[in-house]
């Protein structure tokens, strides 16, 4: 076990997999010699050579498309999209191609392909370095989406994603790369070192896709979160002294419905929190699923604490970010209703 931050854990996952499997390659803008603008591939080119870790032209479309071709050949490419906000030029290849290949060929071709991308706000990146587009991919049949909230999960989930035989989108909440940000932007940042989930094995292990984690058991209400919002959720309920059950989804699709259902049936109340815009966000799907499955257990409407339906404004970052006040208000409302 070593203490790692998220970046180190993500780097380690790729390193472990490249060591074990000659078919694993890493590519993306600035990922080669430089090791990535967030350093997630640092040292890998030196270790595995330029034909396994390489820089690409600035073409997210080309990155996804060539990675699809590589996966069709039998490689397991791990492609980085420098910011999730820049994934859209590759959207057609992801939606029309990566997601459909196994289906349209009845399993003859499949694509063991991982797309990593730093995502989410909280670093004053303005509207084009802050987005959370996960819901767009959840609507597309054939794509899995994973969002880790801590170094241990990040490494285990990324290894599972690379080993998975289907395309996986792996969004990395960049705000928590260096520490578990809880939404209190006016307090000093805590580094990962103090967090139990920063203890990460150096070798190979997996955290299974499709399984959520109950990160705190509780009786009063279920709070469903993922990524940065897990830390916001824990801080919020602690600040408010609420005995909430907090679920860290980890995988967005396929979602772990059993864990959700069991928890909401127990608590009778639920709030979903995410940073993405509200309308059509993952909260909508979760809310719909929960009321479909737990209707007679629900004592209040399923609440949503989310980013607003606006772009992410540079200077109003802390007005946009769904922090402890927004989540706290939603929880309070769900408890009072």
């Amino acid at each position: 076990m070593t203490v790692m931050n998220m970046i180190q854990a993500i780097n380690s996952a790729q390193n472990v997999m490249m060591e074990r499997d000659g078919n694993v390659v890493a590519l993306g803008e600035d990922v080669g010699y430089f090791g990535g603008v967030f350093r997630a591939t640092e040292g890998l080119q030196r270790k595995y050579g330029k034909s396994r870790v390489f820089d690409t032209p600035i073409s997210e479309n080309g990155i996804v498309a060539t990675a699809i071709g590589m996966a069709a050949y039998g490689l397991r490419p791990v492609a980085e999209i420098q910011f999730a906000d820049y994934i859209y030029p590759g959207f057609d290849q992801l939606v029309s191609e990566a997601a459909r290949m196994r289906y349209r060929t009845a399993g003859e071709w499949f694509l063991p392909l991982t797309i990593r991308s730093p995502y989410g706000g909280g670093i004053f990146g303005g509207q084009t370095h802050s987005q959370s587009p996960e819901a767009l991919f959840a609507h597309v049949a054939g794509l899995k989406t994973v969002i880790p909230s801590n170094p241990y999960d990040a490494k285990g989930l990324l290894i599972a994603a690379i080993e998975d035989n289907d395309p996986v989108l792996f969004f990395e909440p960049k705000r928590i790369y260096n520490g578990p940000f809880d939404g209190f932007f006016d307090r000093p940042v805590t580094p990962w070192a103090k967090h139990p989930k920063a203890e990460v094995p150096e070798g190979h292990y997996t955290v299974p896709l499709g399984k959520a984690a109950v990160v705190r058991e509780g009786e009063q209400i279920t709070v469903i979160a993922y990524g940065t919002m897990v830390h916001v959720a824990l801080a919020t309920i602690e600040a408010q002294g609420i005995d909430a059950e907090v679920i860290d989804l980890r995988t967005i699709l396929p979602v772990d419905i059993d864990t959700i259902e069991a928890s909401v049936k127990k608590t009778g109340r639920c709030v979903v929190v995410h940073e993405a815009t509200r309308t059509g966000g993952l909260g909508a799907e979760l809310s719909a699923l929960i009321q479909e499955r737990c209707f007679y257990h629900l004592e209040a409407p399923v609440g949503r604490a989310t980013g607003f339906d606006t772009p992410y404004p540079h200077s109003l970052e802390w007005a946009y970010f769904p922090g402890p006040i927004r989540l706290g208000t939603a929880i309070k409302k769900a408890l009072e209703d």
């Binding site: 479309n61 191609e97 009845a106 071709w109 289907d166």
Partner: protein, 426 residues
């Protein structure tokens, strides 16, 4: 025209919109087409630098001359048996196309696309490539499957979306896929296969293997961003890939000028990216064969990609959904000055003394019979019936292959569907 207060005495700008040489009612007009003599284009060494062969983008590699002789440095000097096999495969594609077109018209399926006049492009490449090379075709290279001996009945089952369709009826007709025959899954989304082929070729290079990729794209589709990604990545990494542009001069109703074809050749794109480029008579099977081989040799020698414009003409409609007489003269196809690829290869064999009309007729009859037999076989496994729920496929298969393992939500939906179908059947 608005009043532009700042224009002063400047001329008014105008939007230019390209227009083809002839529209319905006009005589077909191909007088603008420049056709260099067969044999007139030099054949550079495969190790020549792209910068040394720019001229090849502005001419036309042709081997078969008007008299049916194979001439010049690009003559691939094929054995008559090979020529006869190529002729046979081209004829077979044409018979097959006619049959399937008619099947669609008879209501046996929803859609079909012919490759009439473009048979040489796929068939000759199919013969020039190695069997283990991967092709990334569009919907107009059925000839690649035929050249590689894929069973006709299986192609038909795909067209019929029937019980025998290995793709389980999921894809639109003609969107074949077969790994064993080196034929990559065709996408309904134009151009996506082009950069995928580059990625596949890069993977072969990453692994230190020797397999190369051959990709196809239409003239119209070169406008998509995927084209640019493909050529950019292929150039940067010197990917072992052949990038074929099939310039049949029409997209659906728009001519190649709307894709930039008035400004320069499509082969000239290669110059823009600094890679090797060739412009080839696509109705000349020998020229296609020779160019493919040359590009394949370059790719296999780590000399990088080649962009090949295959100049041809889409003789028939775009698909069964299209009526070309709405946008171009009716007889345009038959006036195409580079002739018919089947007739040209036939003539060559006849001139060589390796073929005659009788044998041709005999082969033609054989192929008709072969296609008819395959059709009977395929139709035993069903045809598409569009107003029935007597599906050739088990509906449960609809939920398979979305992922390797079926997640809970698809399992639930599968159960729902099965119940629904029972209700429908009642």
């Amino acid at each position: 025209m608005t009043i532009d207060p700042e224009r002063r005495n400047r001329p008014a700008l105008e939007l230019y919109v390209p227009e083809p040489h002839a529209r319905p009612g006009d005589e077909p007009d191909f007088s603008h087409i420049i056709i260099p003599a067969a044999g007139s284009v030099p054949r550079p060494d495969i190790a020549a630098q792209p910068g040394e062969m720019k001229d090849l983008a502005y001419t036309l590699v042709r081997v078969l001359d008007e008299g049916g002789q194979a001439v010049g440095p690009w003559d691939p000097r094929l054995h008559p048996d090979t020529l006869r096999r190529m002729l046979r495969d081209m004829m077979l594609v044409r018979v097959y196309d006619d049959r399937m077109y008619r099947a669609q018209r008879q209501g046996k399926t929803s859609f079909y696309m012919k490759s009439t006049g473009e048979e040489a492009i796929a068939v000759a490449a199919g013969h020039a490539l190695e069997r283990e090379d991967m092709t990334f075709p569009t919907y107009r290279q059925q000839g690649l499957l035929v050249a590689r001996g894929y069973p006709l009945a299986q192609m038909m089952c795909q067209v019929y979306s029937n019980r025998g369709d290995k793709l389980k009826g999921r894809q639109l007709p003609v969107m074949y896929s077969d790994k064993a025959h080196g034929f990559f899954s065709i996408s309904g989304n134009l151009a996506t296969q082009f950069p995928q082929a580059v990625g596949w070729a890069m993977a072969s290079a990453i692994k230190g293997d020797s397999r190369i990729a051959a990709a196809y794209i239409g003239d119209g589709s070169t406008a998509e961003g995927d084209f640019h990604a493909a050529v950019t990545f292929a150039g940067v990494y010197r990917a072992p890939v052949i990038l074929n542009i099939v310039n049949n001069q029409w997209a659906i109703s728009t001519f190649s000028g709307i894709a930039g074809g008035e400004l320069t050749t499509f082969a000239a794109r290669a110059i823009g990216y600094g890679i090797a480029g060739l412009r080839v008579d696509g109705n000349d099977a020998l020229a296609v064969y020779a160019a493919t081989r040359w590009a394949a040799d370059r790719a296999r020698s780590n000399l990088g990609p080649t962009l090949i414009e295959l100049f041809t003409y889409r003789v028939e409609g775009h698909s069964t959904s299209d009526d070309p007489s709405a946008y171009r003269p009716k007889s345009a196809g038959s006036n195409w000055p580079l002739g018919d690829p089947v007739a040209r290869l036939k003539q060559h064999l006849v001139v060589l003394g390796e073929w005659d009309d009788e044998r041709h007729q005999q082969l033609s009859d054989e192929l008709e019979a072969e296609v008819r037999a395959a059709q009977r076989e395929a139709e035993k496994l069903g045809t598409l019936v569009t107003s029935s729920i007597e599906f050739p496929q088990d509906v449960r298969t609809m939920f398979e292959d979305v992922f390797e393992e079926m997640p809970w939500h698809l399992r639930e939906q599968q159960t729902q569907m099965v119940d629904e179908l029972e209700a429908k059947r009642k």
